[in-house]
Subunit: 210 residues, 2 copies
Amino acid sequence: MRVSKTPIPARDADATRARIMAAVGSLLVREGFGALGVNAVAREAGVDKVLIYRYFGGMDPLLEAWGNASDFWPSVEEILGTEPETDPARLAAGLLKRHLRALRARPHTLEVLAWETVARHPLTAILARIREARSEQLMATLPPSFREAGFDVEAFSALLGAGLQHLLLRSRTTDVFNGVPIGTGEGWLRLEAAVDALCSRMFSTSAIRT
Amino acid sequence: MRVSKTPIPARDADATRARIMAAVGSLLVREGFGALGVNAVAREAGVDKVLIYRYFGGMDPLLEAWGNASDFWPSVEEILGTEPETDPARLAAGLLKRHLRALRARPHTLEVLAWETVARHPLTAILARIREARSEQLMATLPPSFREAGFDVEAFSALLGAGLQHLLLRSRTTDVFNGVPIGTGEGWLRLEAAVDALCSRMFSTSAIRT
DNA sequence: TTGACATGTCACCAACCGGTGACTACCTTG
DNA sequence: CAAGGTAGTCACCGGTTGGTGACATGTCAA
């Protein structure tokens, strides 16, 4: 009569590693960043926490691995779109809208962005570095006419980009922001239309006013 | 020879209550809301934590009391400004800019707003309620022409308001956002100028385009 | 003076946290 | 078969957290 204490220990390191990584993601979107810890991840993965130390070296390296592995940030192509656009207003609006849609499809990324606006953490630093590289890569593809549009394009795009990002973050927990239903697709259609209008009017009338 | 264990116990309940309340604020701005707890507040106030339970009934009631006490949200007058404005573009820009300045002067409020984006909490609910009331109060003072400007004013102001708020939150930990130095007054001047330009062009050309 | 009450100190609790060492079970290589 | 490494379990450590009960000390009124 065998009294084996370990009925199905699986005994598959790669699978265990994968379970731990997956647990990070699901725990993140379900409980939020505050719940992320060695004990919690181990519980979520159904695994002893000592394996986290053995396989990853601790929580921070695990988060690094997780951030590097998943398609955390949208690719440059996803933001640039397929066909080239010359009209600066359409170009700007297209970039903003594709950026919006890319983030809207990535709840993990959204969660980390939320954390980043609030607290400093090794993971947010890691991911910020990846994002910076992507951002520079993207900026390099933009035509120089974009920068000399007759108004402060940096401040303009900072304002709109920040606005979209903030609304995305709020949409995780709130249904309506300033009367706009950010919990539904209809609200985002209205916001995309607003982005279109803003870009169009800024770039087309940029020469009229100083 | 007296061996009094309590050299200066102060013995002033009101003062102790005040010290606890003050400790919440200073701890919040210095360490962030993650560090808020019974032990931390008691330490910060130089007070035994049992007094927090005795005087406030726990951490959440303490936070409620704190949120209700301080001038957390700017008054309606502070947002509306002194002199009435009829031009809708100037009116909108003025509202946004005064809102921005009011929040920039309130680090406590900013910290709780940041908190609100990542977690639900009794305190954030309390403050959200106060904010809602102020917001409605403010909206009631705006002329109806504001709503029928020929474009989606709600989406427009949601986007700009959210953008400013997001940049405010990011400025707590980051110096530059999209090339704009949000850590310095110069960056905020540029952003205010961008708000002016956006409002001006949206309201002045609203009839030209659909 | 005596008692009631308010104020504050202290010790303690269970629960959780991150982290580590010792162990068993298994598979592979000789 | 034996040896060694790998995968996983378990028990434990010190420290911190939220929370409570017992107690000392001061103040004030009867």
